[in-house]
Each structure stands twice: as C-alpha cells, then as structure tokens.
C-alpha cells in the first residue's frame, strides 16, 4: 500500500492552505473529500440545484445531525431530517468556500485577548488565545495575495495593524446605493467601512476577474474570481503533481496505535466500498462539527472517548456567529429606480465603529455589521411574499404583490456579527442511537447560547437600523436571534497550552496524538466578531509552515 507524507481530511479553506504549502514544498499529499469535484465550467446559476435541494451537501437521507435545543427549560433533541434543516455546508472539493459571499474581515488584536481585555463573563468559557495577532498577520497578508482580496483600506478606530499599505486588488465596482450609505453615515458621524472581498477585481494566473453575474453567495463561481479553496489553492497545488484528491470519500474513522494515527478509513459513497489510506502525518479539516464527529467516532484502546480526547475536550466550546439580520425596503422615493435596479454591482459597506462598545461606562466587546442586497434568487424572493399578516395569499392579490416586489423595490439587508461566547451548552457529541447510512453515529449539536450574545447583537442592530432610517428605508425589520447560522462554525477542538483543557497545542497539533493536526476553525477558543474564513485560511498557512519546519528538523 502506498504511503503518503500527509493525508488531509476535507478540502475547504482550512485544508487547502496546508495542501498548497506542503505540495509546493515537495511533500506527497493525499486529500479525502466527501463530495465531487466541480470546476468553473460545471457551475451555473441554478437556484434549484444550489439553493433548493441537497445536491452539494449530503442528502439528509444519507446523513444528518441531531440538534439539542432548549424548550421550556429542557434540552430537546430533533433530527435535521425531521424539518429539513441541514447543517452541512458545501461538501465538494473546496468545501463551503465555493459558496461563500467572500465578505472578508480579519480578527482584531483584542480578539486574541478577550479575557484579559474585557474580563470573565459568568457562564462563558472565555480564554485568551495562545498566539497573538502579530503572529497571524503575515498569514492574513499571504491570503490577500494568494486567495485574492480586493478592496481599499478604510481607517477607523479599531483597524488592525497591516504589514502592507493596501490590498493587492483594487475594489470591485460598487452599486449606486453605496453613495447613499456613505452620505447617511457621514451625517450620523459613522465611518462607512469599505468591505474587503475575497473576489478578484483583476485576473490572476488562470483565474478571471469577477464578471458581476448578480448570483454570487450560495453559487459556485464560473470565472474563478471568488477565492474558493479550490480555485485559489488546490488547482495550483494539483499542478505540482504532489497532490492527489480522492472525491466521494467519506472518512468514518482514524486508526491509532501508540498515540499515532496509522490510517484513515473511508467509504467511497458511490461504490459503498471501504478503503484505507496510510500517511506519516494526518490533518483533519472537515469543518468544526464534522471534525469533532470524526475524532469522537475514532475510539481505540488508548482513546476510549475518541481520538485525542482523554481530556474530554473534543467537541466542547463549539462556536457559531452571534447576531442576526435586518432588512429595509427601498423604492423610487429614495433614489431613481434606474439606479436602484442596477444589477450585479456590490454594496461592500460595513459598520465597524462598535467593535468595542462603551455602554453605561462599561467597556465590552462589540462587533460589525455588513450591508448586502437581498440575494437575487427569484424563487426564494417570491416565496417570502406569500404570507401577509399570517394569511396565505394567492390569485390576483398575490400576483400584484409579486409584480410590485420585483419591479419597484429592492431590499437591502444587514447582517450583525458578534462573538458567540463559548459555553458548556454549545458542543458536539455523538449518540450511538443515531447513525447515517454507513452505520456511523452522527454528530449531535447542542446549540445553547449565552444571553450576553443577544444583548450585544441588539445594540449593534440598533446602530444599523439608524443608518437604514437615515437612508430612507421603509419597513425596517430586525431579527437578533440565539439560533445559530449553520454555515459559520468554529471551536470544538480549541488550542491552548494546557492539555487538560485544550485539544491542540499552539501549532494546532493534538496534545495527545503526535502526528495529528487540525486546521479548520475548530482550533478557535473564541471566535471574534467577523466571519471565520479569512482567519481559517491564514491559520492553515501558519500551521503548514510549522509542519514543514517540524519535518525539516
């Protein structure tokens, strides 16, 4: 049996930085991806396939999750197939980065020192990170160049230090509504922050620049402009001849002997046959929930509670992104219909002035707000119109409402991002009673959240609402919720110096298993108040350098 230098489980943002660095560094790398290999030419703007059916995620008949939620002070369990609420995200080569919108924010220095900056919060397991911002900064910069980040630096009070002056790619073309946002923010004395995007505004190597399709988030990119792990890192890594990607490979277990991983057992989901991969070193990056599931299901004599889990920390302190969403309606009363209805151009504005909040003389960690238009998915857009005041509409009344919605209005959304505090009630476990069609226990996710998250989210939503009001938006609605967004996962295998209360060391190497690294968002002990992708990419490059250094020595 062929033995590889490195076996990587997963192929998304956390996996690809390692694959790219090691393949270019001359190592023989094998990557196991659960789904298929879609390339630029395979993607289309097909709302049915990409948004309405389980095509790029496992069918919920094949695999699912159980969710524990609080109901009348009791934890109640449901399966995700019972209400069609999948927690899988983009299971194809490149992972969910294929389908991201690419709103890219770095963590700020305070995110690495949450406990020492703001102190403990009762009921939350807040700790400082074991690295600081300066250690990750060179890798954030590397992501800007290799994955491709476009934008223009907007100075504001909490802006993180940068080693380069500007982004390597200029800003994407902007929708006329950004002028209204800028004007309204200026009047309110708020900084309208120009949102960096992981989308190329100029071509790079074999990737073409953005063609403003108006169908970005939730869709694969047909030009390669979006900085997916596949387009930006895996395709160049494949060219070295050192990277092999096996698709339709669901890894069910990692074998262990003498505290070292000896093999990855996977099922080919098309033939249903089992295979085993041998390597010197194993890297797991299957997105937080599925990574924890794999470790918890990899039980052995040395690790009866799951691989690298004699500390009972695997799965603990799972993170999502707290906050919520808001909407406002715009029509010809705020700007000309011709300008409002311009298609394809980006909003690219955020509010970051409240990354720290001073409330009643108490300083606390805040967050950010991104603006974006309602996605141009006509089925979803139309479907939301069918209820009014709890009554189902149809016939002429419904048709009139649809026509008005599509031809005279545009909905601007805002999304609030603040820390999802780590607690004892947000974790991944496995329950032997619930198994997928391969007989493997599925992940159980308890989705408890800390009340502080809602408090911060509401403060931020109020600020966003004030901008919407100033802009002249109608029917402004906000929804700050403790229900997690399924695509923004982190934590569960936090890194730290003490093996008793962390799974990984500073370099994301398992404390208890010498040749095991974890490089998706699982390592994060606290999540910060931005989407995770940029940090996951950066950390993946950082860990890859540590692996190379270790191999050399």
């Amino acid at each position: 049996m062929k033995k590889y230098d490195v076996c990587i489980v997963g192929s998304g943002a956390g996996a690809s930085g390692v694959a790219y660095t090691l393949a270019l560094g001359g190592k023989k790398v094998i990557m196991l991806e659960r789904g298929g290999f879609y390339k630029e030419e395979d993607f289309s703007k097909d709302e049915i396939a990409y948004c309405k059916r389980d095509i790029v995620t496992p069918s919920l008949r094949e695999s699912y999750h159980t969710i524990e939620y609080l109901s009348a002070n009791r934890w109640v369990k449901k399966t995700t197939y019972s209400d069609e609420s999948s927690f899988f995200n983009g299971n194809i080569v490149g992972g969910s980065s294929n389908f991201m919108s690419g709103y890219f924010h770095r963590l700020k220095p305070v995110d690495f020192k949450l406990k020492s900056t703001y102190g403990a919060i009762k009921g939350a397991n807040i700790v400082d990170w074991v690295i600081d911002y300066d250690e990750l900064e060179p890798y954030y910069e590397k992501v800007e160049r290799l994955v491709g980040v476009s934008g223009k630096v907007t100075p504001y009070k909490y802006h993180e230090p940068r080693s380069t002056k500007e982004f390597p790619y200029p800003p994407l073309h902007e929708h006329p509504i950004t002028k209204l946002i800028d004007k309204s923010c200026k009047k309110l004395n708020i900084i309208a922050y120009k949102t960096p995007r992981a989308i190329l505004s100029k071509s790079k190597d074999k990737r073409n620049s953005c063609y403003y399709s108006n169908y970005c988030g939730s869709y694969g990119c047909s030009s390669g402009a979006k900085g997916s792990a596949r387009a930006s890192l895996l395709q160049p890594a494949l060219k070295t001849g050192n990277l092999t990607i096996i698709t339709h490979a669901f890894v069910k277990k990692l074998d262990e002997k003498d505290a070292k991983v000896t093999g990855a057992i996977y099922v080919d989901t098309q033939t249903k046959k089992e295979h085993r991969i041998q390597a010197d070193l194993f890297v797991v990056a299957g997105q937080a929930v599925e990574t924890c599931r794999l470790l918890l299901n990899s039980k052995s004599k040395n690790f009866p509670n799951g691989l690298a889990n004699n500390s009972n920390q695997v799965g603990k302190n799972l993170l999502f992104s707290a906050g919520g969403v808001g909407t406002g309606q715009f029509d010809a009363s705020t700007m000309s219909l011709k300008e409002l209805m311009v298609e394809g151009l980006f909003v690219n504005r955020s509010l970051c002035d409240w990354y720290e909040i001073e409330d009643k003389n108490i300083k606390m960690k805040g967050g950010i707000i991104d603006f974006l238009f309602e996605h141009n998915n006509p089925i979803s857009k139309a479907s939301k119109q069918k209820w009014e005041d709890g009554k189902l509409l149809w016939g002429e009344e419904f048709q009139t409402k649809l026509l008005k919605k599509f031809t005279t209005t545009k909905q601007l959304n805002f999304e609030v991002f603040n820390d999802w505090l780590p607690t004892d009630n947000c974790f991944v476990s496995v329950d032997e009673k619930y198994r997928d069609i391969y007989g493997v226990p599925v992940a159980n996710i308890r989705i408890g959240s800390h009340p502080h998250d809602i408090k911060v989210g509401k403060i931020l939503a109020k600020k966003a609402k004030s901008v919407m009001q100033e802009m002249g938006a109608k029917d402004i609605q906000t929804s700050i919720s403790s229900y997690p967004p399924a695509n923004l996962q982190a934590g569960g295998c936090r890194f730290g110096d003490d093996p008793k209360n962390s799974v990984l060391d500073k370099n994301c190497q398992a404390h208890e298993v010498a040749n095991l690294f974890i490089t998706d968002g699982s390592f994060m002990p606290t999540g910060g108040s931005v989407t995770y992708t940029w940090t996951i990419y950066a950390n993946s490059f950082r860990v890859a350098d540590a692996i190379l250094k270790q191999k050399k020595s």
């Binding site: 289309s44 703007k45 709302e47 939730s218 906050g323 996605h375 006509p378 695509n487």
Partner: protein, 168 residues
C-alpha cells in the same frame, strides 16, 4: 452570508406516515393514484390564474414541472406524502371541487384553509412548488418560454444550467 435555517413551511406532525397514495404523473393506470395529481393541477390554476400581465400556472407549466422534479431523488419525500394526503382531504371536504366554476373553486379553497392549519400548509406547499415552476430555469420543465422571468423583469445569471440538478 449567514445561512439562516428556516423550514419553508411547517409540516411536522401533519404528515401522515405511510399514506397509501403516491404522487404519480397523469396517465398512471389506477384512478385513485391519479387523483392527487389532478387535484393539485386544478389547485395550481386557482392559485395562479391568468392575469392582466401574469402568466397562468398552465401556461408556465406548473404541473409538468412538479411531475418532473418530484421523481428526482432530491425531492423531499415528506412533501410527496403531504401533497397526496392534502389532496385527499380537500376532496373529502369539497367533493365537487374538480368540476366547480373557477370562482367556486377559489371560494372552496378559501373555505378549506379557513381555521385549518394543515389545509393552509398544504396549499402553501403547492404554492411554493408553483413558484419554483414559475421562476426556475426552464431546463426543469417550468417557466416555459421564460414567461415567469419576463413577467417579473427578472434577468437570470449566466451561465444557465446545461444539466438538471448540477449533476457532474
């Protein structure tokens, strides 16, 4: 973008497991098996009639769309059961529904959903699939001649799909 989990319609316990009725395209041999589909076709005509500018459910191919997509493995099986079950419930309550005048059908349907959340969910589910038919890519059999997109002045993204369900 935050992926907010929202089931498009609450069905939950309203689905009767193991209902004997299957949803099959028209032309199937046993009459009782054809009935749910016929009922749904008539309901779609009530939900989406020919308007001043709006295309009708028949014009944009609402029923043939449903016939196509409901045979694919990705179609939600609980929806199949519920679509059949609801059709039976409607005919039980409104026996002459299929032969009524358009106005009477609309009235009967409104009567059916009144104080009946299960009935209302069933109609909402049919409306949901009618909207899929109106605005999905014509490759799936609905949105004939792009009537839905043209009516709402919607410009689809490029490239359009060359295969159904993004099959490799």
């Amino acid at each position: 973008m935050k992926k907010i989990i929202t089931r498009r319609i609450f069905i939950g316990s309203t689905v009767l497991a193991g209902t004997a009725l299957a949803l099959l395209p028209q032309g199937a041999k046993t009459s009782i098996r054809v009935e749910p589909f016929k009922v749904i076709e008539v309901v779609q005509k009530v939900l989406f009639p020919k308007g001043l500018k709006a295309p009708s459910a028949s014009e944009f191919g609402a029923t043939s769309y449903l016939a196509t997509v409901s045979t694919h493995s990705s179609f939600w099986r609980d929806d199949l059961k519920f679509l059949s079950h609801g059709a039976t419930l409607l005919i039980k309550k409104e026996r002459d529904f299929l032969t009524m005048t358009p106005n009477s059908k609309d009235k009967a349907l409104r009567n059916f959903v009144s104080n009946n959340s299960k009935g209302e969910n069933w109609v909402a589910l049919i409306l949901f699939y009618t909207l899929e038919a109106l605005l999905s890519d014509p490759i799936y059999g609905g949105n004939k001649n792009e009537l839905g997109w043209k009516w709402l002045n919607h410009h689809t993204g490029q490239p359009q799909p060359k295969v159904k369900f993004a099959q490799l």
